[in-house]
């Protein structure tokens, strides 16, 4: 009986850093560029209107407070996607990881021509490429979604330049299911 040779294998354990980057990648994927653009435009408008009114019609303490609030809302809106949102996700992911770190075990993943073999202490799966719901490629992690809710993330730190060809092949095998977060519209 001949053994199948894997295209690529990875043996790893998810660290706090990986977990945070997985959460950030998922968040990045969920927010579209148009959402960011709208929030930024509205924020800049609020800041300009607030500043203008504060300078030219800022008489009376209540009015001044109102315009300062408008500027603060504008700043919040502008920084929401870039600073506030990611920070909140980071904090939440860190807390989640620390609460569950005893349960995170090592995992072995082997990519073959026709399927992906995943082995951990509580899960063994031979999953054909067509069974994946989606695969997200971010700067630091690759997330393999089994369905909308359940996923397996692989940190990119495991791969070296030698693995680029293998990763390209996996990308080809996954076809349209493989989405690069930075390249999407």
């Amino acid at each position: 009986m001949s053994e199948k040779t894997p295209i690529l294998t990875a043996d790893y354990i998810i660290t706090e850093h990986d977990y945070i980057h997985t959460s950030l990648a998922q968040r990045r994927f969920k927010t579209s560029k148009s959402d960011r653009l709208i929030m930024n435009i509205l924020g800049i408008l609020a800041i300009f209107i607030g500043l203008y009114m504060l300078i030219f019609s800022g008489d009376g303490i209540i009015k001044i407070i109102c315009w300062i609030l408008l500027i603060a809302m504008g700043l919040f809106s502008v920084s929401f996607y870039e600073i506030i949102g990611p920070s909140l996700v980071r904090i939440q992911a860190r807390n989640e990881y620390n609460a569950n770190k005893e349960k995170i075990g090592s995992r072995n993943i082997a990519f073959y021509e026709d399927e992906v073999k995943i082995v951990s202490d509580r899960y063994i799966g031979n999953i054909p490429y067509r069974y994946f719901f989606q695969v997200l490629d971010d700067k630091k992690v690759i997330i393999f979604y089994l369905d909308e809710n359940d996923y397996i993330s692989i940190p990119k730190r495991l791969f070296t330049d030698k693995d680029n060809d293998a990763l390209e092949k996996i990308k080809f095998l996954l076809g349209k299911k493989y989405v690069c977060i930075n390249q999407r519209k």
Binding site: K103, D121, R122, Y123, I124, G125, N126, I127, P128, R130, Y131, F133, L146, D147, E148, N149, D150
Partner: protein, 188 residues
């Protein structure tokens, strides 16, 4: 020694989970641990505020035009009551169905092995191993057993259709005995 713990108490063949069942189970899981938790309490708070507004308006002879604030609050409260009691559960059910449709694994026929310490779920592509200590909640409904695991995001569902009366009784008894504090029976 480990044989004693891993000895198979029951094997359930052909455990099949239909779409509607998964949606319903997803909703129940969220009622126990999630956004739907305590929905009756949340709705009753809005009901109490609504009652207060109604009482206030009754004292004012239901003059809606001159009392826009209580009218507005009572409309919002009515919406929030409907939201918690009907809209959100339905939304959760639809989300569960959506997850089911997105998966190639959930619609597969499974074989479930029950042992003293845990369970093993096998289908064509996967083997999932779990322990009773991981289970946060075990809920028996009229048509299935639902277990929410701390370890996995996937719901563990055992359909009663694939069990005969004796097996059903045995499983219910076993789960009750193994997880007395986590076992619940619901008519939903």
């Amino acid at each position: 020694m480990s044989e004693k713990y891993n000895k198979c108490i029951m094997t359930i063949e052909d455990n099949e989970i239909p779409l509607m069942m998964y949606g319903n189970a997803y909703m129940i899981a969220h009622m126990r641990r999630g956004r739907l938790k305590g929905k009756e309490w949340k709705a009753s708070i809005f009901f109490a505020i609504w009652c207060g507004c109604m009482l206030y308006m009754a004292l004012k002879h239901y003059d809606l035009i001159s009392n826009p604030v209580p009218t507005g609050i009572s409309i919002i409260c009515l919406y929030m009551m409907t939201y918690y009691l009907f809209i959100l559960p339905n939304r959760m059910k639809l989300k569960g169905e959506h997850i089911y449709k997105s998966s190639h694994m959930l619609n597969k026929t499974e074989k479930v092995k029950i042992t003293r310490d845990g369970y093993t779920i096998e289908n064509k592509c996967e083997t999932i191993i779990g322990y009773w200590t991981d289970i946060l909640d075990c809920i028996e409904t009229n048509s299935y057993y639902l277990m929410i695991s701390e370890y996995s995001k996937r719901l563990i569902i055992i359909s009663k259709k694939c069990l005969d009366d004796e097996q059903n009784e045995k499983l219910a008894e076993f789960l009750k005995k193994t997880m007395p504090a986590k076992y619940r029976k619901t008519k939903k």
